[in-house]
Amino acid sequence: MSAPATTNTPVVPPVIPGTGTNIIINPLQRGNLVLDCIRNVGKEFGDIIADYQVGRTTGVLFLSLKYHRLHPEYIHIRIEKLGHSYMLRILLILCDITEHRDAIRELTKVCIINNITVLVAFSFEEAGHYLSTLKQFEHKPPDMIKERVDKDYNAILRTALTSISKVNKTDVETLRTSFGSFANIAKATPDQLRNLPGFGQVKVKNIKNAFDKPVRNNA
């Protein structure tokens, strides 16, 4: 059912892969449940080597582990066919079995040798979601995952303080309201900290370690 290869109807002659705004789908994928989960982007069938072409230079192979268990040789053939085409080559694995460890290990190795990036999805929805985001983000600059500078005060304070282990968002709020500023928090004594609600010994120790211990030793 999740098999990427279809057995039934003969393939309709593919359209010329074209406009660039659609995901181009290998006709082999017809019948794959993932197709229904690709939303918010255009889809068209086309004659390509990969299963899905989500960008000018990005090709995706799709593999369900269930299928892989039955036909372990299939993916190797596909990878071989892929040759050196595409800049970014992705193997989208649908993890739909419980004994996934060995299969994923083996596939990881194969992919690293063949310069393929592995993505693991855990449901058809997720797989479809990956495909559509890959297409949508084709020309998106990586700002979303880059270091950001313009964040508001509270957000920075929260990330800064929660970087200390055991400190959670509520604690940040407690610290902020009790001491006012970051500098004042740094100056707080262990006793003051210990008497805040929700602050145990370990947490206080961690906070004090971060602020008061030397940042590096003189070895």
Binding site: R39, N40, T58, L88, C95, R101, R105, T108, K109, C111, I112, N115, T117, L119, F122, S123, E125, E126, H129, T133, L134, Q136, F137, E138, K140, P142, M144, I145, K146, E147, R148, Y153, L157, T159, A160, S163, I164, K169, E173, T174, T177, S178, G180, S181, F182, A183, N184, K187, D191, N195, L196, P197, N206, N209, A210, D212, V215, R216, N217, A219
Partner: protein, 993 residues
């Protein structure tokens, strides 16, 4: 130092032999630390090198001190932390003696050969109940046994309850520690029984009933718990939830049990179940707080609870409210908790307070009646006390007190009388040392301790039962009110960060509308004021100073309407002073008691202790009342030092009872009387009894397991065998004739020092890969000269996506290595999935119209940035060369690494260290990881200049104390300003006000 009891000696007799390795399981409270201390003293000599592993910092210092007392001083126990440089460490190891080492450092030193492993005389492992195949201690033992067969290994634990999960937990621990002998000493063991039951302490058990309102709340909480539990059962029918009953839910470990059961399906359970599991924790905490917090604090906590439950962090109205909040029982909790503090009347300000309608609710009003009538009955000077001017007219303070407070007061009274009685009798027999007259009060937390200290120091001795702490309660009430009004101001300014929910606002209740973050502040300030008040209260001359001090600071912060407030406050302070004046001029009887009152000391806070010395110098121990919190084995020494004649156990504690038994048996001449206080028919009593039962059961299980245990055969791990094994594995028959050259080098992986916090190095080593620790600038693991791996656990992944750190790391890896790899590691027993969001369709949508949609669906938008999948996709698109390894557990990771190493050349450590490190002048220096992380998050400090900053400053605190010019000098103009403004932002606002 106190003498060892016969059973201590028997234990030592059995385990001291340095040629054997043992595991000792001792019941808590029987003096495990004493045994370890004695053992270490036996082993102490410059010729031997004995390591103490897995001790916490406190334990290290305590054991060190204990050794010092026993006369093992030069050099005694030395502690190796990350501050000790590697050269110093080598020196230290060479000199021998007793050394306590952090596990992480020891592993690295063993791997690097900084420590002569074959010369180690022995290792002592503390907390061995926590040893699993994944922890560093198991790794240490493996490394140790590889090179050293003759040294001993002694493991200790006093937490048998921990060794119960799994099929044969004891065996697993012994296997990991490579031990064959275990000694189990429960409290019911023959020797221990004999030693302890010869002399029994004089125990008075006091069972205190809860007050009516408390009972009501208690009952309601239990009701909420059981309804939450049944809800949980109903929504998770597939799970084995037999253990899910209210009895078990009293314990903290219950959360763990639930989580362990739900973890594999955690992604499937949905937000509702998660909420329920959280709620159980909250309810359990509530139960505990009910019995320990004063009513005002409890009420304030409930208010925060409501507020935080009805809003999300971003201020929107929360979708999934905890179901128990909507039950009738919860309503009872909130209503009664409020009634314990005050009652709102709709009457005008001029309405005289003492007229109270008793018909309404007998139980609660009776208490109120009691309180209200009290002041008028006792003295005329207390009129101000009955109705202080700062209480708004429509509010009737009830201020119920915890019944145990009064019980404590009575017990202290009794102890005092006893002391006087004995004093008069003792004159004849002076020779015998019967201990000091100190009264020791033990409570469960430092918070309770400080409340108790405050109560005792401001106690009103001739007030009737139930209102002795009225003065303290009023003070607390005022702070509470002040904060509420402060919150009101804040709200009007529009500066509140905590959006106030409409749900909780009640008409006609001026104060109750103002819930929010401020309750936390009040905690801190309360504490400060309390400290001041305490200090002042213990000095007779400045008695009136306490409220004055408090008001002074209040006045400062309320600069705007200072005049009116100050007037009011001063007037009030004056009235307090007047009141105390008249009070102390009372009968001579009274002043005598006050004198005693003065000696109340709170040793908990160090600051107070210092103050104490400067103000008083030495004090006759006769009259001191010490209030302390239960701690670990340190209590043993405290008992021996203080030698109290009276011990009040404010809350039940099994371990401490044993400590008293041990203390009593070790000091035969001393008389001890123990008052043991429990709230009858409460969760406290139940918890105490269940705790005892649980410990007994786990011991029985352990003994049974020891009887039937199949002793693990220890696998011999010879280095030669290991490598030949590896060779056999590398030559595959598929390679024609095995023509490939045999790799004589043991396969190796270079691991970043910081990664030793994770379990992978240990597992890599277990699978015969040589682990080389190094300080890497780029990547975490170097597998081959071309493959560099950055490991991220799921939470790491999320945070480093948010901070942008991952992007920088990938950038760096791509520059320096041919195959940069991101390893996404899931946890062993947890689900192998990313968070599944129920409706993915809606998240893929808004991308094109992102900005337009933003305002309409704020919560959606929030989730969108939280989701990992789009970010992973973007990362893959941005770095086409970065590969991703999806690993379901550390075990799988080790296997994959091994796979990747096949047929590949070995990495070169020197090269790996050099990569990317050229701009860092101090490669290899120990780094305070927490501080580094913190610095990175500050604005103006980026991955590029963090190293520079770290080399310039000593501590983060130092950075905070710099002025703006210094920071600008450090970071440059614009980033410096940003950073400085960030650090000092809250202050400016405070001073402007």
């Amino acid at each position: 130092m106190s003498t060892l009891l016969p059973f201590h000696k028997a234990i030592l007799e059995r385990i001291h032999d340095p040629s054997t390795s043992d595991l000792l399981v001792l019941a808590r409270g029987l003096g495990l630390r004493r045994i370890i201390g004695t053992l270490m003293k036996i082993y102490d000599s410059p010729q031997s090198l004995v390591l103490l592993v897995n001790a916490t910092q406190e334990e290290e210092s305590e054991i060190g001190e204990e050794l010092g007392i026993m006369g093992c001083r030069k050099p005694g126990l030395r502690v190796v932390g990350y501050e000790t440089g590697s050269k110093d460490r080598q020196e230290l190891y060479k000199k021998g003696g007793l050394i306590s080492v952090t596990s992480r450092i020891l592993v690295v030193d063993m791997l690097q050969g900084d420590i002569p492993t074959h010369l180690i005389t022995g290792i002592l492992v503390m907390h061995s109940e926590r040893v699993t195949p994944l922890v560093l201690e198991a790794f240490i033992v493996r490394l140790y046994r590889e090179k050293n067969k003759s040294g001993f290994l002694k493991a200790f634990t006093d937490q048998p309850e921990h060794i119960t999960s799994g099929l044969s937990p004891l065996k697993n621990i012994m296997k990991e520690l490579q031990l064959r002998k275990v000694h189990i000493y429960p409290r019911f063991q023959e020797d221990i029984k004999k030693s302890l039951e010869r002399r029994r302490a004089d125990v008075v058990e006091l069972s205190q009933a809860l007050t009516e309102p408390m009972q009501e709340i208690h009952h309601a909480i239990i009701q909420c718990m059981s309804s939450t539990l049944s809800e949980l059962k109903r929504s998770n029918t597939t799970l084995d939830l037999d253990d899910f009953n209210v009895d078990n839910a009293y314990f903290r470990s219950f959360d763990l049990v639930v989580r362990r059961q739900l973890d594999p399906v955690w992604h499937k359970v949905g937000p509702k179940t998660k909420q329920l599991v959280n709620d159980l924790g909250t309810l359990r905490r509530l139960l505990y707080y009910l019995l320990t917090y004063d009513p005002l604090q409890f009420h304030a906590y409930l208010e925060t609870l409501i507020a935080s439950n009805s809003t999300t962090a971003s201020g929107g109205v929360k979708q999934h409210q905890s179901p128990w909040l909507l039950t009738d029982a919860a309503n009872i909790i909130f209503q009664v908790a409020k009634r314990r503090c005050y009652i709102m009347t709709s009457g005008s300000k001029l309405h005289p307070p003492p007229v109270i309608d008793l018909a309404d609710d007998e139980d609660v009003w009776a208490a109120l009646d009691d309180v209200e009538n009290a002041p008028t009955g006792t003295s005329k000077g207390r009129e101000t006390d009955a109705r202080p001017p700062w209480i708004p007219g429509y509010m009737e303070p009830v201020l119920e007190e915890l019944p145990k407070w009064n019980l404590l007061a009575e017990v202290l009274q009794e102890a005092e009388e006893e002391i006087i009685r004995q004093e008069s009798m003792k004159k004849s027999i002076t020779a015998v040392n019967t201990g000091t007259n100190t009264v020791l009060v033990m409570a469960s937390s430092t918070r309770t301790c400080s409340v108790l200290a405050e109560f005792l120091s401001s106690m009103d001795h001739d007030a009737p039962r139930g209102s002795k702490g009225r003065r303290m309660m009023l003070r607390k009430l005022r702070l509470y009110l002040w904060w509420k009004s402060k919150l009101a101001e804040r709200k009007q300014d529009g500066k509140s960060h905590f959006a106030l929910p409409d749900v909780v606002g009640r008409a006609g209740d001026g104060f109750d509308k103002l819930y929010g973050s401020g309750d936390n502040i009040s905690e801190a300030l309360k504490k400060k004021d309390r400290e001041k008040a305490e200090r002042a209260a213990s000095r007779r001359r400045v008695r009136g100073g306490a409220p004055a001090a408090a008001t002074a600071r209040e006045g400062k912060q309320k600069a705007e309407d200072r005049e009116s407030v100050m007037g009011e406050i001063q007037q009030e302070a004056q009235s307090f002073a007047d009141f105390w004046e008249s009070h102390s001029q009372g009968t001579s009887d009274m002043s005598l008691i006050l004198e005693d009152d003065l000696t109340l000391l709170d040793f908990e806070s160090g600051a107070l202790e210092n103050e104490f010395d400067t103000h008083y110098g030495l004090l006759v121990p006769e009259q001191t009342v010490l209030i302390r919190a239960y701690s670990d084995d340190t209590d043993d020494r405290m008992l021996a030092e203080i030698q109290p004649k009276f011990i009040v156990m404010f809350e039940p504690n099994m371990e401490f009872i044993r400590r008293i038994e041990v203390y009593k048996s070790a000091h035969p001449g001393l008389a001890v009387r123990v008052y043991h206080m429990v709230y009858g028919n409460s969760c406290e009593e139940h918890k105490y009894l269940a705790g005892i039962r649980k410990e007994k059961e786990s011991f029985e299980r352990l003994i049974k397991e020891r009887g039937t245990m199949l002793l693990p055969l220890l696998e011999e791990r010879r280095e030669g065998a290991a490598s030949s094994d590896a060779i056999i594995k590398t030559i595959s028959t598929r390679i024609a004739g095995g023509r490939r050259e045999i790799n004589s080098q043991l396969s190796q992986v270079i691991v970043d020092m910081r990664e030793f916090r994770s379990t992978i190095p240990s597992l890599l080593h277990a699978s015969n890969i040589l682990v080389i620790p190094a300080t890497l600038t780029v990547g975490d693991y170097i597998i081959t000269p071309e493959i560099c791996v950055e490991r991220k656990s799921l939470s790491d992944l999320r945070s480093s996506f948010n901070s942008g750190r991952l992007y920088t790391q990938c950038e760096l890896m791509s520059v320096h290595y041919k195959t940069p790899v991101l390893l996404i590691e899931f946890e062993e027993d947890k689900a192998f999935t990313l968070d599944v969001v129920s409706d993915l369709t809606s998240y893929a949508k808004p991308i094109g119209k992102y900005p337009a949609k933003k305002k309409q669906c704020a919560p959606n938008d929030q989730d969108y940035t939280v989701m990992l999948q789009p970010k992973i996709a973007l990362l893959v698109l941005s770095f086409p060369r970065v590969r991703i390894i999806w690993s379901s557990s550390p075990y799988a990771t080790a296997e994959i690494f091994k796979d990747l190493k096949l047929n590949n050349p070995e990495p070169d450590p020197a090269k790996a260290i050099a990569i990317g490190a050229d701009d860092d002048p101090e490669v290899g220096a120990g780094v305070n990881a927490a501080a580094e992380e913190l610095l990175r998050c500050l604005p103006g400090i980026s991955a590029k200049n963090v190293k520079h900053v770290m080399s310039r400053i000593n501590t983060v605190r130092e950075l905070c104390e710099m002025d703006i010019f210094q920071v600008q000098e450090l970071l440059g103009m614009e980033p410096g300003r940003l950073c400085w403004e960030f650090m000092h932002r809250g202050e400016e606002r405070a001073t402007k006000r």
